[in-house]
Amino acid sequence: MSLATDGNLSMTDVAPARGRLIGQVARHIALFLAVMLVWEFASTYELVDPLILPRPSAIATALVNMVLYQGTVWFHLGVTLWEAVAGFVIGSVIGIGLAVAAGLNESFRRYISPYIIALQVTPRIALAPIVIAWLGFGMMPKIAIGALICFFPPFINTLTGLLNVDEDANEMFRSLGAKKRQIFFSLMLPNAMPIIMAGLKTAISLALIGAIVGEFISASEGMGVLMQRYTFALNMASSFAVLVILTVMGYALFVLMEWADNWLVYWRHDTRMTAISRKKARAWAGIIGRRQA
């Protein structure tokens, strides 16, 4: 009943909201086009040096060339994406794993914290040449660099989330006779989920940075290599096209993480929460012998 009413309310809300949204998008596009146009003219009439700031149309042409005609960019994109994602997964698994161990065991926490702090205050990207010296020239060192610089946010966020459990909730579980394992999986972990996800969102962009810096230092494939090749050849339009592709890739990863957040931390997202609420009502209909709206 109440859900159905809510549905109706939001329906009447949607129509004007959609109109406003279209207006907003239109204004954004107009502003973007205006900036591009000014840039285009400034570059054409050499108000800025096109070698420094190539024309938007030149960048667009380079982009179309790269993506559609040459097609080699897909291979490099795949390499960088693979390095970034692998670095992210490895770094996150290590970060979360260490945090869980530290969260559950106080003496372990005490022993590793100085090392963790040392590693945090070190500009870890400075380790990149050392890692490359150790691991050689393939994808492995880039993955390792990505993992190294991205593991900290998942670690510290997971630890904070696990330790930040409501004391009353903890006592409530104990009063029910819950075992440590039950408290961990039913209380501590879900309670930490929102902040863990926030850490993972930061980690994925760090892993991408790690992969590209690794490629800058020494590599024969990947978007970092393409970027260097084009800038060394003073083909600035293509360099910017590479940058655009990296932006799109970063954005895609970001959207993926937002989607995962929406899926995993459903209780912090109203729409998902309402949908799950209805789904559960349907699933329970048989048990309670009552139809839900």
């Binding site: 009943m1 109440s2 409501d166 009353d168 909730a169 006592e171 409530m172 579980f173 104990r174 009063s175 029910l176 006779g177 819950a178 039950q182 039913s186 209380l187 879900p190 989920m193 459903y266 209780w267 929460m273 609420s277 209805r278 559960k280 009502a281 329970w284 048990i287 309670i288 839900q292």
Partner: protein
């Protein structure tokens, strides 16, 4: 040797009254040498009775409840629940807190089912009971709402249903409606009386509101702070079921005055 031992056993069993569910003798809890949260408390609580604990904050009310719940260990004295010394949490004893302590990722009914889940596997009978309990506490049609979609009063109702789902016969309530507005609190108090009558439980109810303590209870344990002491146990003779108008009667106000004077002496 044997004679002495059997004599001791006889002496210690002779005072076990099957009607006494909670019994304390000189119970002490000290957190460290400075803080004596509870100093030599002795009391017996009868099966099926409703006992209020009243006193200013810091007088050891929560400490007493947590001792009975087996959440903390005593420092000295004796404490037994259903004839056994308390050594940890027990399925016979359930506890409810001032804050709802609901799991925000679970629907109301899934929160109510938590005690069942912790104890083992959940059957359809358990699920039916959880739904019934939510109806009992007045939350029909909110079974599948998440805590964030419920008001503070409704959340505390879910917590009450969860407490009842434990099947515990001894219910410890630590200022359960203390964070709610006065109207909601009054209504929930009346419903609580109806519900515990229904489920035939023994209740220890903590509050710092004297009228509330008297209105609800068969006995009021009056506590005073620094160190936390049980100053007096006051019997409340009023008939049940009780109506809210009771609070206007002279006898009621006489009892309020009596409790206030015990607290005022400190």
């Amino acid at each position: 040797m044997n004679a002495i031992a059997s004599h001791l056993v006889a002496a210690s069993t002779s005072h076990i009254d099957p009607d006494i569910v909670i019994s304390a003798r000189d119970l002490v809890k000290a957190f460290n040498s400075q803080v004596v949260a509870l100093d030599r408390a002795s009391f017996d609580i009868k099966r099926g009775s409703f006992v209020s604990l009243v006193g200013p904050s810091g007088c050891g009310k929560s400490t007493l409840l947590r001792l009975v719940a087996g959440l903390i260990g005593k420092s000295a004295g004796e404490l037994s629940v259903l004839g056994h010394g308390v050594s940890g949490p027990s399925h016979e004893v359930g506890m409810m807190f001032q804050r709802p302590t609901l799991l925000e990722w679970r629907t109301a009914v899934e929160n109510v089912l938590l005690p069942t889940e912790v104890q083992g596997t959940t059957t359809d009978a358990d699920r039916k009971r959880a739904i019934e309990l939510l109806q009992l506490v007045g939350l029909k049609d909110f079974e599948f709402s998440f805590p964030r979609q419920l008001s503070g009063g409704m959340q505390q109702r879910v917590a009450l249903a969860r407490l009842l789902q434990t099947g515990a016969n001894i219910l410890l309530l630590d200022e359960p409606f203390g964070a709610l507005d006065e109207f909601t609190r009054e209504r929930l108090n009346l419903e609580l009386l109806r519900i515990v009558d229904d489920v035939d439980a023994t209740v220890l109810f903590v509050t710092h509101n004297i009228s509330e303590a008297i209105f609800l209870a068969d006995q009021v344990m009056v506590m005073t702070p620094r160190p936390g002491r049980l100053a007096k146990i006051v019997d409340v003779p009023f008939e049940r079921p009780r109506e809210i108008g009771l609070m206007q009667t002279p006898e009621f106000n006489r009892l309020v005055g009596e409790v206030r004077s015990i607290l005022g002496g400190h």
